[in-house]
């Protein structure tokens, strides 16, 4: 009798939780019954369509929604997550496989509430915790551009997520924990430029999707959390934009921040890996005023953080194996000095100076190891159309060699950063090559 009552009690609670989850996730009240097809009423002006194109670029939508060798925005790019692979959707106006049957309300609901045309909850690899901040005017312009492009009939493969991660029930729980639809409220104490920057960084730019730590359930930090994080699977670290030792934005002139976003290069600094892709497909195309607004906002956040006491950088450890210094120096002379110079001063405009370079001194050596293993070019942009590149060393240097040479350049020419271990190199080497 008592057992039955407890059972009923649990069942009741369960039902209530379910009802709450359904209400939380599905009761957004967006009326999508406006007549499809897809077209906007009144038909969008050429200016609106062009504004939409620009906003789509600002959001770097193309990078995820285009597969290697596929038509732009036709989806199907595999996005690897710790929970399995998600395939981006086709955003061209094909009725069967794309968004040809969508209307502006559907698109708004997807961007603002993270639900598809049929009402399904979308996987949060689509960063709708950020896109929810985009204004209705802006999503309408984006939709106007998308829907006026050439249709490409191509269905993306089905996601291959571990059960139960991809189920609607799991998504409902996840969203109730980590997602809340929102709007960008301008900060009254700040000017229009700062607010424009904040809107772009937190919304379309979705910078925190990489530049904040992800938790065990794959949720990134708040939209304005720029404290940096390791990007799962691809194994690059998006540095903290607040920590002076990592990016130094608080002390970087605004024009340098703007130049880096516009050209992929500024002084001895350049973007590579996933940030190179962001510059290549998105920020190089943004208007100078928008880049400056983003720089103003980012710099202000770094300044705020600078005023708070942070963790101190650990001192260089002195537990080097006896042969590491000579081995590192020999390898540096043989493989690096020709470009980066015997004193690590590099060549202005071509090869980074390694003496005093922030990227060399990071406590987290992920990106350094990536750079030596795979080499690479910064993105070719209008401002840096013919970049200089670095060869990959994955086939010529083993883990001990790379650890030794990195330890060498972290401890020379006034540099003082902890040694790099072969294990750190192996972690990156072993995780790639899929």
């Amino acid at each position: 009798m008592k057992g039955q009552r407890i059972g009923l009690c649990f069942a009741g609670i369960g039902l209530l939780v379910c009802a709450a989850l359904v209400a939380d996730n599905f009761a957004d009240g967006v009326d999508v019954s406006t007549p499809s097809p897809s077209h906007l009423t009144p038909p969008p002006s050429a200016e609106t369509i062009d504004k939409g194109r620009y906003l789509i670029q600002a959001g770097n939508c193309i990078a995820c929604h285009t597969a290697r060798g596929g038509a732009a925005m036709s989806g199907g790019r595999a996005i690897e997550t710790p929970f399995g692979t998600v395939y981006s959707s086709n955003l061209t106006p094909d009725p069967a496989t794309g968004i040809g049957l969508w209307n502006a309300q559907h698109f708004w609901r997807a961007m603002h509430h993270g639900r598809s045309r049929d009402g399904r909850l979308l996987a949060p690899a689509f960063p709708y915790n950020h896109t929810t901040l985009i204004t209705r005017d802006d999503t309408d312009a984006m939709f106007a551009w998308l829907i006026t492009q050439a249709a490409v009939a191509k269905a993306p493969p089905a996601h291959t997520l571990q059960w139960p991660v991809g189920t609607q029930a799991a998504l409902a729980v996840w969203r109730s924990l980590y997602f809340k639809p929102g709007t960008y409220t301008p900060h009254a104490g700040r000017d229009a430029e700062w607010n424009r920057g904040a809107y772009l960084v937190q919304g379309l730019g979705h910078c925190a999707a990489c530049h904040s730590p992800r938790n065990a359930l794959g949720a990134s930090g708040a939209v304005n959390d720029l404290s940096g994080g390791l990007m799962p699977v691809v194994n690059w670290t998006a540095p903290s934009l607040l920590d002076n030792a990592q990016t130094g934005l608080a002390e970087t002139p605004l024009t340098d921040i703007q130049t880096l976003l516009q050209t992929g290069k500024s002084g001895h600094h350049h973007t590579s890996g996933p940030m190179g892709e962001v510059v290549q497909y998105s920020t190089q195309y943004l208007q100078p005023a928008d880049l400056q607004a983003m720089a103003v906002y980012l710099k202000s956040q770094a300044r705020l953080a600078q005023d708070k006491p942070g963790p101190t950088t650990p001192a260089a450890s002195r537990r080097l194996l006896p042969d590491v210094p000579t081995r590192g120096a020999d390898l540096y002379d043989k493989h690096c000095a020709e470009c980066h110079g015997e004193q690590g001063l590099g060549v202005a405009g071509a090869y980074s100076a390694l003496a005093g370079h922030r990227a060399v001194l990071q406590t987290d050596t992920t990106n350094l190891v990536q750079t030596v293993l795979y080499g690479g070019y910064p993105p070719a942009t209008a401002g840096n159309p013919r970049p200089f590149g670095m060869p990959p060393y994955i086939l010529t240097l083993d883990d001990k060699d790379i650890a030794a040479v990195l330890t060498h350049l972290r401890t020379q020419w006034g540099n003082s950063a902890p040694e790099v271990t072969p294990l750190e190199v192996n972690r990156i080497r072993a995780s790639q090559g899929k």
Binding site: R68, G69, G276, E277, Q280, A337, E338, C339, H340, G341, E342, Q343, G344, L345, G346, V347, A350, Y351, Y374, G375, G376, Y377, P378, P379, A380, P385, R386, P387, F388, G389, M390, P391, P392, I394, L395, Q432, G433
Partner: protein, 247 residues
């Protein structure tokens, strides 16, 4: 007053000398703003001036037709060829820059080494079969001769068809094998796939073996046009539209 100025002048001289000292000792030596400098990431594996890597898997780039080299860079970028290190290198680069890189290597004129394999070490029957296929094709299976597209001298055709001589046997075998398993593709319609699918593995090995034993002719440059002659009808080539002009 005078001494202050002198002091300042001396100070400035000292600073200049110090700067010069550090420039001479610290900066990279012999830097020149050239395409050779910009393509160090290529030549690290493909050899100085793109003369080919030492291990047989990094082919020569120097002197190959520019359109062919450009197509290969795009094939890596667009997933028709697969080699992770290449893909990561070309992904950030623009079409204009890839074309400039391709043109740069195509214009490097380097002498070719002798044939990579000695014919004496190869079974005569294999060489004979390879030669037959390379020079005459196989009409019963609608397989054109290599020379029909790659030129009488087998040094390629401007601007999109590569030469077939001076390449290591391992590389030739790997490429034909990759075509057979669809790991290597070209722009559609993929004429080379059309040829490879009509040949069996021993044919492919025979033709690769024969090619690797051939020395280069005096004139190693790619042909500018193919001689008009009665030949087998060719499949269309998405990667080399100039072949369409061949009767």
């Amino acid at each position: 007053m005078f001494s202050i100025v002198r002091c300042l002048t001396l100070g400035l001289q000292f600073l200049t000398l110090t700067a010069l000292f550090f420039t001479a000792n610290g900066h990279a030596k012999g830097f020149q703003d050239t395409m050779a400098e910009r393509t160090r990431a290529c030549t690290a594996c493909h050899g100085d001036q793109g003369r080919a890597g030492p291990d047989g898997y990094y082919p020569r780039l120097a002197g190959k037709p520019a359109g062919y080299l450009y197509n290969q860079l795009k094939n890596f970028a667009q997933g028709r060829r697969h080699y992770g290190l290449m893909t990561r290198l070309v992904d950030p680069l623009s079409d204009a820059y890839l074309r400039e890189i391709a043109t740069y290597f195509s214009e490097l004129k380097l002498p070719y080494p002798a044939a990579t394999q000695s014919a004496k070490r190869m079974p005569p029957a294999v060489l004979q079969r390879g030669q037959q296929l390379a020079l005459h094709g196989d009409a019963t299976r609608r397989v054109p001769a290599c020379t029909q597209c790659h030129g009488d001298r087998l040094t390629g055709l401007q601007p999109h068809v590569p030469g077939l001589l001076g390449l290591p046997l391992d590389y030739l075998n790997a490429q034909l094998g990759a075509w057979q398993t669809h790991q290597r593709q070209a722009l559609a319609p993929d004429c080379m796939a059309h040829v490879v699918e009509r040949l069996n593995t021993s044919d492919l090995i025979a033709v690769a073996t024969w090619l690797s034993t051939q020395s280069l002719p005096q004139d190693t440059s790619p042909a500018s046009s193919l001689p008009a002659r009665a030949a087998m009808a060719l499949p269309d080539c998405g990667s080399a539209p100039e072949l369409k002009a061949v009767p």
